[in-house]
Symmetry: C2
Subunit: 314 residues, 2 copies
Amino acid sequence: MGSPGSASIVGAVELGGTKVIAAIGTGPGRGILARERFPTGDDPARTLGSVAEWLQSQSASIGALRAIGVASFGPLDLDPSSPTHGFITTTPKRGWAGTNVLAPFRRAFPGLPIAFDTDVNGAAIGEGRWGAGQGIDDFVYLTVGTGIGGGAIVRGRPVHGLVHPEMGHIPMPRAVGDAFAGSCAIHGRCWEGLCAGPAIAARAGRPAEDMAPDDPAWEFVTESMGHALATLTLVLSPKRIIIGGSVRKAGKLGEAAFFERCRLQLKRALEGYVDSPSLTDEGLRSFVVPPGLGDDAGLCGAIAMAQRTSTGIG
Amino acid sequence: MGSPGSASIVGAVELGGTKVIAAIGTGPGRGILARERFPTGDDPARTLGSVAEWLQSQSASIGALRAIGVASFGPLDLDPSSPTHGFITTTPKRGWAGTNVLAPFRRAFPGLPIAFDTDVNGAAIGEGRWGAGQGIDDFVYLTVGTGIGGGAIVRGRPVHGLVHPEMGHIPMPRAVGDAFAGSCAIHGRCWEGLCAGPAIAARAGRPAEDMAPDDPAWEFVTESMGHALATLTLVLSPKRIIIGGSVRKAGKLGEAAFFERCRLQLKRALEGYVDSPSLTDEGLRSFVVPPGLGDDAGLCGAIAMAQRTSTGIG
């Protein structure tokens, strides 16, 4: 096991569509011993090569890694028995379709255990370990930002199934009076096409940060958020829904008001059908919540994934 | 363990909104050694008392029961630590709200293990053991009949979470050209309000059995089924979706045509977003399927639930 201080030092990679964040550490906050940011770009070999090299150099000065956790944008092949396990499959992101994400790390760290999952499953695992999902076996982590994604934790572990959830693309009802066509290139008015950052900007004609708190777009967006949260509540029966990503900060409306409106719209959409103390006005305050780890949920999740792998837990 | 023949004889109760089916047996088909049907009625004590008495009398002649499985309509309290575990909670069904479903069986069979779950989770467990879910760890069982319900199996076990899923009440987009207001007393145009038997009859002005195969109502219904199946595919990422219940038989349209249309509409709703061999024309034939146990899924599920309980497996 080595010395106690170094036993749980792992590498973590959060691979997003715009930036890659890499870290070496043992947990959140001061547990992150080194951190670096890389543009994702359109040359995966170059980007991932730089990340692997950085991990090597940091490891040389800080200490040997027990494992690496990689939480990536997708869609991904998560099937360990598949010949393309560890690949990004069909992304529209230029240069990245068919990328073997793990190969550069396997080359740089031969024999080291590498955990691999979606960015949102990673964030969900991180929130479960150190954030707003602690002690809760069944919850959902959402990111609502440039896109929308969700990770479902059921009995303490992320749902994979056929591929992995792609919650952002669920079909959506139309909010009352809403004429917006939606911005998803594939589905138009799916959840992502209504509530992701670019959708909000397209609807309002300005970025969400610049929208007035009483901009009617917020009403449509939070009503649609309520529809989607109701769907997740009815399909997955989670004990908590954690909403991360940039949209929750909600510019001039503010994070607290955004969450209050989402909770109200969830309650309206359910219309009292599910009877639980968690779905009362009081209960909803701890049913729909921001991430405990803030914007570090994904990175910390990659640390937690790596630690699970290195200990065989999880 | 007793003799091999009697070791796995259990009692099974499928408690529906119209009828209760009870059985004693070891599995599906010839494994059902005795079976009886009772009207659900509006006097739970009388109905459940009759069922418990019947199980006692059958057990006296056939053999001692190792356990009893009860799969019930809901909403239910499934939390073993709750003082109202085993109760139906808030059903609109006259007489049944607040019913302690398990008490009559506990009184009739003191000390016997009793497994308890929703009707659809029960059916899902049955299909997993002997039907269309065999060998599949992650799948969904749906019943589309008088109402719509769904049970999700994740890593071989049913999802409970906060309460249990209530998939039939998810908010739904409007099918193109559809002006139907929906028939759900609570939500109007939720999935159940669009696709359950009473919704189809209300839309078409006649029962589904009497509708012509080219009745436009089938087009709206199967398009809405496609939306809902897409939602479940995107949220749960199941490896298979099993559709039971009476609507699938689809009267003069026929079961095979109903499934073909549902698969086509699922594919349309996803628009190629999820890349999997299971979601191609060919793959969809085994992705969306009828129950392997036909209308006995729920009853056999109650048998399987009881056997899991008596062996400590599951």
